[in-house]
């Protein structure tokens, strides 16, 4: 299956490289989208030195973590992001008759390389924020940062999966999910505690975005030097269970649109 995915990967890369100008312009566009968000943060911090006790560089740590997880999820999980199209043009029926797992096939149906623009931005921001944020990078903190990014990508990916599963019922994509996917990316630029207790609680227990962003950040900054905080990104993976269950439920109710 991995070899098959590698084949798809090469195929998508080749086809997207056919339109080089468009590819690079879109990648630059992606870069600029998050760059303006970055400028926004910077302009705010020109007036203040901290928000909720976090300095500019520390805020950038959460900005880059979220951005990197989101771009990874979007790059590889793009098939679920454009899922309404697969359903409405009947492409999904073709996927269902193929002898491979459905999630795998949807995953392989799209890879969006232009997200490299955002990924690059995340790397640049990390390059600036890692040494200047005042974190002493011992091995456990390095490990934690990697966990944050990996688990974050998986959680974002699950959100795309839920978004796609809703399409089984609505045919059209439901715009409301954007508040969790695009919204998660946009508002994750600040540590989630900034938005108050209620939002934080929601993002801890319902949609676990704070588990891989805010709480581990507290450990990185030695505000909460409790080893339990290292496990929280892993705990966010529990979200995979309801997401997959919902996908299966949606799939069992699927009716072809027939075109």
């Amino acid at each position: 299956m991995l070899r098959l995915y590698a084949k798809y990967f090469a195929m998508h890369l080749k086809s997207q490289m056919q339109y080089k100008t468009s590819f690079f312009l879109t990648a630059i566009g992606q870069f600029l989208v998050s760059f303006t968000a970055l400028l926004g943060i910077w302009f705010m911090f020109l007036r203040l030195h901290e928000v909720e006790g976090f300095t500019f560089q520390q805020v950038l740590l959460s900005f880059a973590t979220i951005l990197m997880s989101f771009s990874l999820a979007e790059c590889f999980g793009r098939g679920f992001d454009v899922f309404p199209r697969l359903i409405s043009n009947g492409e999904f029926d073709r996927i269902m008759v193929r002898p491979r797992p459905i999630i795998f096939l949807v995953l392989a149906s799209q890879i969006e390389f232009t997200r490299i623009g955002r990924l690059l931005q995340a790397i640049l921001v990390f390059a600036y924020a890692l040494p200047t944020s005042g974190v002493v990078w011992t091995w456990d903190k390095k490990l934690l940062l990697i966990l944050m990014i990996v688990c974050g990508s998986i959680v974002f990916f699950c959100l795309f999966l839920v978004y796609a599963a809703i399409t089984f019922f609505t045919i059209e994509g439901l715009e409301f999910m954007n508040i969790f996917t695009d919204g998660g990316r946009e508002f994750g630029r600040y540590p989630f505690a900034v938005y108050g207790k209620k939002v934080l609680r929601f993002l801890t227990f319902v949609i676990p975005l704070a588990l891989f962003q805010y709480y581990p950040l507290l450990y990185l900054l030695d505000i909460r030097p409790d080893k339990h905080y290292m496990m929280l990104p892993v705990l966010s993976l529990l979200f995979v269970i309801p997401a997959c269950a919902f996908w299966r439920f949606g799939l069992s109710r699927y009716k072809s649109t027939g075109s």
Binding site: T26, T36, L46, R47, E175, G183, V194
Partner: protein, 267 residues
């Protein structure tokens, strides 16, 4: 003129049909606005005096921005127009006895207006009843509100005239995807979509205030929130008129040039 009105009316009624999408959209925009406000409120809590707009002005700015999103955001393009250029159906458009620029202009303006009308009221109503620091305030006076309406109409004109330039660029590039993303991002940022223009540091701010983008959402939203009033409002509105005329003229000229050597794609 009456044919433009007809185009406008057909589009308007057509866009009003998508009500469920509108409901989901409204919920999203409301949640989005609330999160933006909470983020700003965290900054204001540290030191309210360090910001160029009062908190209640910023709150009004954000609620009005969310309520009239479809009117002001440049990223919201007409797929149909891009498709007609790349698919070749532009040939039919050219056969019609209506000026293409005028037709497309009406089409996008009507779509934006219909979307905004459908979505704004529920958002405004909720924004007026949420608890105090987060509540949308009424404009300072009736003349101020009239100035807001005027600025909003002009702003819609400037936004559409700007997106016309992007559509026309598709005649040259065919795949407008990249141009589209880049121009929309830059325009929205410089129009005050990410943070209001007064939050920009000098000299950034002084430059941004003069660009055509400042004549987009920046002007009506700041007039509504009361950050711009009196003589400054008149100056801002004159600048809007100037940019509207300039962008329309440039657009018509570009269109004329593009149509002179248009190659219809396939059949």
């Amino acid at each position: 003129m009456s044919k433009y009105l007809a185009i406008f009316r057909i589009r308007f009624v057509n866009s009003l049909q998508y009500r469920v999408a509108a409901l989901a959209g409204m919920a999203t925009q409301f949640a989005w606005g609330m999160m933006e406000i909470l983020a700003f409120s965290a900054f204001y809590k540290v030191s309210p005096a360090s910001f160029p707009m009062s908190f209640s002005q910023t709150v009004s700015y954000i609620w009005m921005q969310q309520a009239f999103l479809a009117l002001f955001m440049t990223w919201f393009f007409e797929e149909e127009i891009f498709a007609s250029i790349t698919s070749g159906s532009i040939a039919y458009e050219l056969a019609r006895p209506v000026d293409l620029y005028g037709r497309w202009f009406c089409l996008s303006a009507a779509n934006r207006l219909a979307k905004a009308v459908l979505r704004c009221f529920p958002i405004l109503i909720i924004a007026f009843i949420v608890p105090d620091p987060y509540r949308l305030s009424l404009p300072a006076s009736r003349p101020q509100f009239i100035l807001f309406l005027l600025a909003a109409v002009l702003s819609l004109g400037v936004v559409v005239a700007f997106s016309m330039l992007v559509y026309i660029s598709a005649f040259y590039t065919l795949s407008a995807r990249g141009v589209r993303v880049i121009s929309a991002v830059m325009a929205d940022f410089l129009a005050g979509a990410t943070i209001p223009l007064p939050f920009f540091p000098q000299p950034f701010r002084a430059i941004a205030e003069l660009l055509p983008f400042a004549s987009m959402q920046n002007m009506p939203l700041r007039i509504y929130s009361g950050h711009i009033s009196g003589l400054d409002a008149f100056r801002g509105i004159s600048l809007q008129v100037f940019w509207l005329i300039t962008l329309v003229l440039v657009g018509k000229l570009m269109m004329k040039n593009a149509l002179r050597k248009v190659i219809v794609q396939g059949g």
